[in-house]
Symmetry: C2
Subunit: 394 residues, 2 copies
């Protein structure tokens, strides 16, 4: 029996999406009834704005305010959302909405997959990590039995609504963590994006992504566009389990777990990118100068490049766990230059000696950081052709 | 972003699939490692046969023997399966196998959807209900918060292996329950199938589907073929939420719940088919004679056509719950003759008076059952063109 399905979702950029004058959210939801799952940490002011918006535009919607941290990223919380959908009497085709960071989007994605074997869902990511990465794809997941993202799903959302205005109230360390995901996609795809982030990242973070005016939205749009291009070839990961967007996502999950999630996702990704880049250098894929540039960019943006948790044992353990998740292949993404990358396919491509030498390279760069390597010169603003604001990204 | 996926699965008929000489299961699994989830009620003899088969053909497979009844059809049991997959260190592309009835197939389908965001799974349904219905489609589900099948998924299996030899050890009441699903698909699609079941159902049940020789497998193959044809138009239920295979599945779930699952699935489906047929008669879609024939067929096969649980309140409640699950539409499947059916689309198409009159018709038929309506004459065996044994159904 043939089972085909063609789904499509749009990523829409807008601003001030909780202003009742803005129809974007109601348009994307496209249902009279539903349930908004809101990260309780957004606080009372956002809750009041959400309630006003719903009263005006979506009066048939319920709200569930939830504590969502990495510790709450469990099937238990998913089932709390399912129970709220059941209590609200949601019918098929009625909608779940995630208003929050990556964990909130993940939880809603899994719950929406399960309720009545699938309700439509819309994500409104409110953190930078979620806006450029965790909130925009098909993947939802929860942690299980010590395994990060061990249970989950591939379920396309009905739509994604990205509003950089939310970033005004995001704390600087969280913004820096989000920059790591933008740098990630830039390092494997787009040197101009890396240059723009390097030149303006500090000001963007300090201003809640409002300064330089308009640049934050443009760089976010560009990051999303690159991410969607990477996802598009194999959205359900049915074919090759290798994608450039997995750069920084081989060692990072294990490091997050070992830190008890004290390490932010973007910080762990930065440490993984540093290590993967040093491995690239050790295996002859990247020049010393390019490695120095990558490490300098990360440090310049306030991201870590090393941690005591990155021991030989934990790194080998992480590589083996990743290979199990990639059907036996390591598929380590390693940069070949700033803006381009390749894969090391096999576990045997990265042995203990290579890992040890890679770590020494990073330690030596970190200890020399008072005299960082020169950064690439960057234009004050990226070329408009690359980074135009995009509404309704493909 | 476009998200397309094309999957395909085969339903393979075989016999004696746990004989180590039979490669069918190992071929369908197509992986060196995996986990077989076995309904513990199959008992020690089947476990010993399974262990021998695995030792010979699939030595990298683990076995999890589980108590699976309707009471165990919960996310808790799904998570037990996920934990066993995690303990076994299963990698992506390694396989879950369900060996058991409909509940076992449902649980494995949901678990396989979630583990690592999707492992392949194979079902080996061992009951008649599962072989012709519950074990062969894309749908998996568990009960939740008093809602039957409230949480679940649409995930195509990697393959389905149907072996009528398992029916030799299934108790007669369970076989009768399975006949209800075969009668169901016959009543909406194929009068010849209904005639064959009527003529030979008693002997098939009494012989564990071994007599008349070969007929059981042919009727099962025909039922599966019709079921897959019904599923094929809209396998993910993305378009219209109406399908003829939902005949008997509007009131039945609520009745099962109200009985505390003392009522078997097929029994509840039979009561629902009787009621839906009487509604068809009341609304001018079915002749009195055809209704009498349908009710007689059900009674003749040993299936119930009424229950004290079918009160006005419970039936209205069931219709409303079903409509929520069909996005507001009732889409009650009603026969227009033996072998053909249509839909009553709206809740308002079936009012309290219609339900009451329909119930009176059934009660009056039931009380007159000592003199059943004459059954259609049936050929001793169905025409070979309709019911040829099928291996690798489309």
């Amino acid at each position: 029996m043939d089972c085909s399905t063609v789904r499509r979702f749009d990523v829409v950029l807008s601003s001030d999406v909780l202003d009742p004058h803005n129809p974007a959210l109601a348009d994307l939801v496209g249902s009279d009834r539903g349930l908004v799952v809101m990260d309780g940490a957004l606080g009372a002011a956002y809750r009041a704005r959400l309630d006003r918006y719903l009263a005006t535009r979506l009066p048939g919607f319920h709200v569930l305010s939830l504590a969502v941290s990495e510790q709450h990223k469990t099937m238990g919380t998913v089932l709390d959302i399912c129970a709220a959908a059941q209590d609200a009497g949601l019918a098929r085709r009625e909608v779940l909405v995630a208003l929050g960071g990556g964990v909130c989007c993940d939880l809603v994605s899994v719950a929406a997959t399960l309720v009545r074997r699938g309700l439509p869902y819309v994500t409104v990511p409110t953190t930078l990590v979620a806006q450029v990465d965790a909130g925009i794809g098909l993947k939802g997941a929860v942690n299980f039995g010590g395994g990060k993202n061990y249970l989950g799903c591939f379920t396309p959302p009905a739509g994604v609504l990205v509003d950089p205005d939310f970033l005004r109230t995001v704390q600087p360390p969280e913004l820096v963590s989000g920059l790591a995901e933008m740098v990630k996609i830039g390092l494997v795809r787009d040197a101009d994006l890396v240059a723009a982030l390097t030149a303006h990242g500090g000001r963007l973070v300090a201003s809640g992504f409002t300064q330089p005016a308009g640049l934050g939205a443009r760089l976010i749009a560009r990051s999303i566009q690159l991410m969607l291009e990477e996802l598009a070839a194999d959205p359900y990961e049915e074919f090759e389990l290798r994608r450039l967007a997995d750069f920084g996502h081989t060692f990072s999950g294990r490091l997050e777990e070992l830190s008890g999630y004290a390490l932010r996702h973007g910080e762990a990704v930065a440490i993984d990118m540093a290590l993967s880049s040093a491995v690239a250098c050790e295996t002859g894929h990247l020049t010393d100068a390019a490695l120095a540039e990558i490490l300098s960019v990360l440090l310049h943006l306030g991201l870590p490049i090393t941690t005591d948790l990155a021991t030989e044992a934990s790194l080998l353990d992480a590589m083996r766990a990743t290979a199990r998740h990639r059907a036996g292949a390591l598929n380590l993404v390693v940069p070949t230059a700033v803006g381009a990358a390749t894969f090391l396919p096999k576990l045997s491509d990265v042995d203990v000696g290579t890992l040890a030498r890679a770590r020494r390279r990073i330690d030596s760069h970190a200890s020399a950081q008072l005299q960082p390597a020169p950064l690439r010169p960057a234009p004050l603003e990226p070329a408009p052709s690359d980074l135009r604001p995009t509404v309704g990204l493909p």
